[in-house]
Each structure stands twice: as structure tokens, then as C-alpha cells.
Amino acid sequence: VTPDLRRVLDALRSAKGASQEAPLAGRLATRAAAVVRVAGIRAGRRVVWPSAGRALLERFELPAAGRGEVTVEILASAISPGTERAQYLRLPNARPAFPHHPGYSAVGRVVDRGRGAGGLAVGQLVAVPRAPHASLVTVPASEVYAVPDGVALAEASLTYLAIIAAYGVDRCRLEPGELVCVIGAGPIGLLAQRIAHARGAQTAVVAPSERARALVELTPGARLLHEVDELAAAAAIDAAGQEDTLELAASAAADGARVVLLGSPRGLQRLPLSAMGRRRLTVVGAHISRLAGERAETGRDDFRRFADEYLTGLRDGTIAAADLVGEPVDPREPELAYRRLADGSLRSAYFDWQRLEPSERVAPAPVLPRRSSAPGPVVVSARPRATGERLGFAVIGCGDIGAENAAAIASAANARVVACYDAVPALAQAVAAQHGAVASGSLDAALAEPGVQAVVVSVPHAAHEEVCVAALERGLHLVVEKPVAHDLASARRIATAADRSSGLASVCFPFRFESAALAAQALIDVGALGELRGSTITMLVDKPPSYWLGGYSGRATSSWRTSRAASGGGILIMNATHLVDRALHLTGASVEEVAAFASQSAETGEVEDSIAVSMRYAGGAVGSIVGASSARGGSSASGLTVWGTLGQIVLDDRPRAFTLHAAADGEAGRWRNLEAAESADPRVVYFERFVEAVRGAAPLDISLAAGVTVQEVVEAAYRSVESGRPVRIEELR
């Protein structure tokens, strides 16, 4: 049961209990009213701050309007750049408890009215002071104010700010024609100036920022001030609440004047008592909460008086506010709005609730409790159509990865294994038998086998060059298992051969086609990450001792993995290259400089066991790679994280994303799953896509050049380990 619904049900139960003592007619009326309220529950969306710095849009339910109440569908709700910014930053005097439902001032249309709701009609446009940021509110009818025809929605949404400002002006006790000086040119300060002007006062404004000064210059009747001494204003308003602004307001005031404190200070202020005494100034607090106290004491409703003054002023053109409403922001992206408010890139703004679908803004809610559904995964299809024509592959190298590649080729709808070759004949024979291919006796024989149009190379790294160049010189298409080679020089010679060949060449980075990686790419493609700030790659694995003598399967005994000359290195070149490619591909960033430290172990022989790499990307983002072969127990956290100004993506065993924009899947401000419920084997997808490129039906997804770029990062890291200094990529070119 949701909290809102629970409250209603509790009300229903208490009404039932109370009825024990009541006359029958009263009991029936009470119960009927409660049932009507439960039956009239509506659902909407509202902004919630679950904890410091966080903001979400959540679904909520509220009862229909009861006696003397109206339910209002909110169309625009103003964000206070003073109070809400202070609360979001948790400044002094502005630290709400969590969860907090922020909100300030809104405008909307009456959708429901209870009995005794005055003259308000369903469909009427009303200003709703103190409304939370929600698509739907139920409030006392006495606390909403009819918006006259012709008044813009966003301007009407500022009504509560106008009430606050008008109260401050009232506290000045100005006579027509007198001068009031306003310190501060935020919405409250400028509204105070405009209301005072509309009341016949002369006005002057002290504006702290250039933007604020520009606003003042556009304001009718406002005099922009840079100096306030000897201004001798009949009253001064401190609308800024800064450390020195009360003192500044006192300087602007004439002897015997009132200095009104209107902006809530977010810290201590200097109190100029000696000047106050010398000049008989009166400092006056004008917090809006006092206006409620006055209403309770006097019965006079100045809230309504000030609201009507503002709204009719807008209608008649005596008060202008179009320049104060600011930017419309999407309620589905509340955290983005508040973060911008905090960093100053958003000054004035309002939530435009009309950006939500009507069914999200106001919907009938079921009375029965239900389970909330988790956000669905992002599904991105990358598979091409099968054609029936199958590209013939020679599988060169039939160890663990060679066998895996052969299986993927056999599973791809548009490819087949034609020939297999390995220096260990038994390995080639086993793979060939599995896929109905020929086990060739030599590399040349395999490449010359009838039907072979492409080659997949899965031999020890130092042997890549010989095989790749031989295949490319024959004009065969080439897939080389990552890394391209054991070192950068060899990789570049292969790339040169590819440039001269008629065959297409690609490096096998199949994990680009994992469903989560594709979903991440879709988010990044729509700008959900913002500007890249950094990446981190973690690859902590626990390779058993037997791995170094025969790989994971032990099908062939060989110590090439522990030989620097044969493999080029350890965990970085052998495994982490997949994630380096993924980081570079996802972000589109290029690495400029690399620094690294590494350590070896008895198990890993000449290659590194553990390595830590720091990287600097072009543009200033940073990256890191931490890898180890002997992290006992391994780590489920191995994977890639990239983060930018607007979001973060984590690709590990629980792929997920957090974005401030409601991008791609409509979610914002909360973590959501990126993994598809069903997805194709990424290695199969890789080969299908490669064949599509060979057929000319699709561009080549992963060129050899992408592999060379990864190889540059690896090479720079190893050179940094050896030299003990950072290595710039351009040094390698």
C-alpha cells in the first residue's frame, strides 16, 4: 500500500471507528464521504528529493477534493532560484528532511472540486501558492487564486513569489511618489521593485551581476544603481540576504527610514547598529511566514490581496514578469534541473508539466495495492538479416579462442568453416571435424583451400603478422583475434598489408555487440552521458596455474602466454584490450598520455601479473586500468565504467546506467538495468556483421585501425612501465 493510499485507508478506518458514537445518519454520511474520497483517488507524478543532491520524478496518489477543497492539474510550477537552490545545496537555514517534496508556486486547471469550494469551476485556471512540484495537487479552495484571461501560465506560476515580494513592499509603508531602493535583482527583488512601481513609488535597484543589471535596465521605472550612499530612499529592501546587503540597504536609506529584510539570509549578516542609532533606521523582518501569522491574528487575507494585485497587474500590463519566468524544464529530468540551478547555469526556471503525457499527469488510480514494476531494459537490435550465401572461413589457430571463433562462424547464418589449420594437427582436426571442414596440413594449404574467402587468425600474438600478411596478400578477408599483434610495430605492419589488400580486415572485439554495450551506445549516441569526464577499467581475474601452461581448457600445452616475446604481455594485452576498445569506442575519445606500473609473479613468468595504468584523454578526461591475473577469487566488479557531465554507465556483471536526461528509455535520475532479457551471442553477431561488410551490405564495424589504436595504449603502458615515466601517444608515431 502506498503511503498516500495508506493515509486514506487510515482515514476510512478512523471514520468507521468514530461512527460508533454517532447517530445513524451521521455515520452513513461520514462513511459515504470517505468512500467517495477513496474511490476518487487520482495518480500523478511529483518531484521528490530522496536524499541530498538527488531528485527523482515519482508516481504518487492523492485523494479527490473533499469539502472546501479543489484538485488542480498543475501545468507549470516555478522553481525558486533562492529557496530551492539553498535547500538543494543544504545551505544554512535551508536544510529539509528527506524525503523532501520541493515546490513553491504553481499554476494549473481545476479538475475536481469538493462541496463548499467557493466560486471555482472545473476547468478554471488558478494560481496555487506553496504547491509542491507535482502534476496534481489537492488544496483548500481558499488558497488558490483565479488567473484572469490573457495572463501567461508561466507568469502566473510566480504568484507566490509575488505575494512574498508584495508583503515586503507593504512592510516598507511607502507613500505614493516615495523612493524605494531594492538590493538584489533576483525574481523576488525585481518583483518587489515592479510591485512598488505599480503602486506609484519611485524605484531603484542595486544588481550584483551583469545579467541582473541587464534585467533591471529592461524594467520600466527602475533606476539601476552602482552606488547607494546619499540615495536617501524612503525605504530600502534587502532582497539578497547576503552578508553585507543589509548594511548596503541601510546606506541607501534616508534617516528615519525602514530597512526591510525580504530575502532569507543563508548565513550571518553584518548588522549596522551604530548607523541605525545615528540615523534612527528601523530594520524590519518580512518573512512570508509572518504574513500567515498576521492573517490568523487579524482575519485579513493579505495573501489574496497580494495575489490579486499581481495577477490583475499582469493582466493590465502594470506589472511585467515575462522576463522573470526563465527556462521551461522537463519534470522527467529534475536532478538535471537542480544540478544546473546549483552550478548557476540555470537561473530562473519552471517545470513544464505539459511535457508529460496526459495519462501520466492525471490518471485514475486503482484502489487495490499493486507491485511497482522495475524499469525495463533497453533493447537494441544489431543483427543483420541472413542471406543464405555463406562466406567460407579458414580457421588458423585452433586453440581455445580458435575453437570459439569456429563455433561462432558455424552459428552465423551467413558464414561457414571451410578449413582449419594449427601447428598442433590434433587441434585442427578436432575443430574441423566438429564443423565439417578440412583439416589442412599447412598454413598455405589452408589459405588455398577451395571455398576459403576469409581467414580468422587465433594463433599466439607474435605469429599474427606472418599469418595475417599471408592471407591479405592472397586478397582474403581477415579477422584477427585481439590484440592485433604482440607489439605496435608488428600491428602497424599488418595494417599496412591490409591497406594494400583487396580483402577487408577487422580485429575481433565481439563484446561491442553485447546487449548492454549496445544499450550503452544508444544512450551515449543521444548525448545522455554529456561531456566525458572519465573511465575506469577493472579486470581482476584469478587465473589458475594451469592456465599459463595450457589456457583455460588445457587442450594444448604451450608456455607462450608467459613469454613476453610471444604474447607481448600479460593481463593488459591478453584480456583488458577488450575493455580498452570498448571504452574508446563508446566514448569516441582518444588517449593522449599514459603512465603505468606493473608487477610480475612466479606464475606469469615474463609478463605482468598486475598492472595499474593512468590515462589522459584528449579534452582533459581521465581514465584508469587496473588488471590482475592473480586476484584470488576474481571479482564480479570487473568491467568498464564511463562517466560524463550528465550520466554514468557501468558495464560489469550488472550493467546499468544513470543519466540526468530522460534519454532513450525515458528514465532519468535513477539507476536502471541495461541488460536485455534475451540477447544473441556477441561473437556470432560480430561474424555476421563482418560478413555483411564483406558483402557490401553494411559498413565495417570494427576496422583494423581500431585495434591499432588499442595497441598504442597498450604499447604506451608497457613503455611507461619500463621507463618509469609517462608516455605520450604521439611519441609512438
Binding site: Q269, L273, S274, G277, R278, T282, S289, R290, E294
Partner: protein, 104 residues
């Protein structure tokens, strides 16, 4: 002759007071004079509409602001020094108080 400045100050204080009960803090001559001139307007238990503060100290002013009713006025009738860091939000702003100094 010696009591004249206190009489003048007390008269100035009276001009600054709103209607309603008034409380006077301090024991000096100014306080005594104001009390005498106020006659029966002294406050009871309830927070007064105005407090006349005659010490002029930051602590005395803070206590007067705390004592006065919401929306009320504190009249300081003593020489004062500037306060470099004052919690105007809680002491003045939220409760809608007024603060005036009548001594120079």
C-alpha cells in the same frame, strides 16, 4: 539636570513604541525612566508587543528579540556597536520583528 538626558531618551523611546504591552529590560536610569513614563503598560507573562532594551549589548539585544512577540518591535535605548555577524534570519526575519535604535 543630570536626569534630563534619560528623560529625553525615554521620550524618544515612547514615540517608537506600538500599542500594547511593553517590557523594559535593564536596571539603569534609562530603564527606570521608561518604566515610570509607561505607567501601567508593562507586560505580563505573555510575550509583549514591544521590548525596550537598555543595555545595548549584543546579548541583551538578542534576549529582547527572543522575548518580544512575533511581529513585535525591539527598541534599543543605549549606545550600541555594530555586530559583525548576526543571525538575522532567526533573530529578526522569520518572526517579522522590527528593530530600532534610538540612542546615538
Amino acid at each position: 539636570l543630570t536626569s534630563q538626558p534619560h528623560e529625553d531618551l525615554a521620550a524618544a523611546v515612547l514615540e517608537m513604541l506600538p500599542d500594547g504591552p511593553v517590557e523594559v529590560t535593564g536596571e539603569g536610569a534609562t530603564a527606570e525612566t521608561v518604566r515610570r513614563l509607561l505607567g501601567g503598560r508593562s507586560a505580563g507573562e505573555a510575550p509583549p508587543r514591544a521590548v525596550v532594551e537598555t543595555t545595548g549589548t549584543a546579548a541583551g539585544i538578542a534576549a529582547a528579540l527572543e522575548r518580544v512577540a512575533s511581529g513585535g518591535r525591539v527598541v534599543v535605548a543605549a549606545p550600541v556597536a555594530d555586530v559583525p555577524a548576526f543571525d538575522t534570519y532567526h533573530e529578526l526575519h522569520v518572526r517579522g520583528l522590527e528593530l530600532v535604535v534610538v540612542a546615538s
